[in-house]
């Protein structure tokens, strides 16, 4: 289990940095990050299922200006790691455990937003340090200060991951025996609900004048086609 958590933390670190600090090639999106973490742990399908559920949830929350959206990267990675490791420990499989992991991870993901904000706040100190380094004509030091920002973002990602993992490891084994049966009645529908709620939020917040009309037309057309064929 320790090895799995460690491997998960490496994925969390790489994907967490892609989120803001470097590249932005979108390996931080849940549809990529969750399967990647799960692939490292040997069960990519678990990650894919979690990726599908989380990807659209906060897609409408744009990282515009100084806005910090919820940390869906760490939610999806930590959920995948929890689902795989606890699946082995509790000898459980199927959508119910995935859902329970997500139910715990999604609210805890709020901490990710605070850590991210804290990292950005901490980086303000680097501005003064760069200025004073430049006044001393020490360019190497100034460049180093900029790169130190990566440490803040790395720690922020790891802290979010650790909080979700810790919360999950403490809560899920206790809750699992009580909710396993109850979740089995509706787990498939709840798995469907996650992406649909995400799509509904995008629909409500996307700045397109005919969004609802286009969406309904597309939905009906696709549905009828599948029904008739």
């Amino acid at each position: 289990m320790v090895l799995s958590l460690f491997l998960g933390s490496l994925v969390s670190l790489i994907c967490g940095l892609d989120r803001v600090a470097i590249l932005q090639i979108m390996i931080s999106r849940p549809i990529v990050a969750a399967p990647l973490a799960a692939l490292v742990l040997g069960e990519p399908l678990v990650g894919l299922q979690i990726g599908v559920m989380v990807e659209l949830l906060w897609l409408a929350r744009l990282p515009v200006g100084a806005a910090v959206p919820p940390d869906d990267t760490q939610v999806s990675i930590a959920s995948s790691v929890l689902a795989i490791t606890l699946g082995q420990t509790l000898n459980a499989s199927g959508g119910e455990l995935l859902l329970l992991c997500l139910f715990i991870a999604v609210p805890l993901g709020k901490f990710g937003q605070y850590f991210d904000r804290y990292a950005r706040q901490y980086n303000v100190r680097l501005v003064q340090r760069v200025d004073s380094a430049l006044k001393r004509e020490s360019f190497l030091a100034a460049e180093g200060q900029h790169l130190r920002g990566l440490i803040s973002f790395s720690l922020s990602s790891l802290a979010s991951y650790a909080i979700i993992i810790l919360g999950g490891l403490l809560i899920i084994p206790v809750l699992w025996p009580y909710v396993q049966q109850s979740l089995s009645y509706s787990s498939a529908w709840m798995q469907l609900a996650f992406p649909l709620v995400g799509i509904a939020v995008i629909l409500g917040t996307i700045n397109v004048s005919r969004a609802i009309t286009l969406f309904c037309a597309s939905f009906c057309m696709a549905f009828l086609l599948m029904w008739l064929v």
Partner: protein, 272 residues
């Protein structure tokens, strides 16, 4: 890779360059770290200074460099994929200033003038349009359990940003101030709206596909799936009012959970 090389080199053919291609490549790579020290005071300011430093080193003497550099550590914020365009243009303007060709506006003013509009265009096009569109297409595959779906997403999404990051950097360097006209010609705000519309259409198809698959799998009459539109549109309208996604998820999932329990009891009673 071809896109990257083409974008970096082809646009500057025939243009007199003081900054060598090696230095420009160095700047380009540094722009990938633009947000490494993102902070609430100067936002991308330090990153912009860090990226341009190799170019400034070529253009200014050791004595002048600290003074010039300090100008670049202040506030700067634009969309991360548009930053190379601004960096390229600023580099050209710095070159012009040194060669004595007077620019129509101050470099600092130009930087601040274009940053905000570019950020708005980039946010609308990339975050608001392209990302949901690519995610919607990849999710079709993911729902089918195809493990290549994440790779499809990364490839689909990154084609345009790579183009922006490479070709626009060269374009900015080649055209300087006139790079603004280049952006205007491409009518990117219109393109952003069209991309968003395409995303909505894809997400509509994806919703229908997911609902239909679920109903078929559970042998529930398919026509019931059309009713999904009602709660989805209602949730969309509620989200528009400012309700948080987390709250909507909790309400929806709890409702489904309770209905599931109730339905299980009903089935249990009927069985007796």
């Amino acid at each position: 890779m071809c896109l990257l090389l083409y974008g970096l080199f082809i646009d500057v053919v025939g243009v007199e360059m003081k900054v060598s291609w090696q230095t420009r490549l160095h700047i380009w790579f540094r722009l990938l770290l633009l947000q490494a020290s993102w902070n609430f005071e100067t936002l991308q300011g330090l990153g912009f200074f860090y990226a341009l430093l190799p170019g400034m080193r070529k253009l200014y003497s050791k004595e002048k460099l600290p003074e010039v550099s300090l100008k670049y550590t202040g506030y700067f914020n634009t969309h991360v994929y548009f930053a190379p365009l601004v960096a390229g243009a600023v580099l050209r303007l710095e070159e012009d200033r040194i060669s004595g060709t007077a620019a129509e506006v101050e470099i600092d003013d130009f930087k601040q003038m274009v940053a905000a509009p570019y950020a708005a265009i980039g946010d609308a096009f990339f975050w608001g349009g392209l990302r949901p569109l690519a995610a919607g297409i990849a999710l079709f595959l993911a729902v089918k359990g195809i493990l290549w779906a994440p790779l499809v997403f990364v490839l689909l999404y990154n084609i345009v940003p790579i183009w922006f990051r490479t070709a626009f950097f060269s374009r900015g360097y080649r055209q300087g101030l006139k790079s603004v006209e280049f952006i205007q010609q491409h009518k990117l705000p219109d393109l952003a709206i069209h991309t968003k519309e395409a995303a909505v259409v894809v997400l509509g198809g994806l919703s229908a596909f997911m609902v239909f698959s679920q109903l078929t799998q559970h042998q529930v009459p398919s026509w019931l799936g059309m009713l999904t539109l009602i709660p989805m549109v209602m949730l969309g309208l509620v989200a528009r009012k400012g309700f948080s996604t987390l709250l909507l998820v909790i309400i929806t999932v709890s409702s489904i959970f309770l209905i599931g329990l109730f339905w299980a009891d009903v089935v249990h009673l009927i069985a007796f």
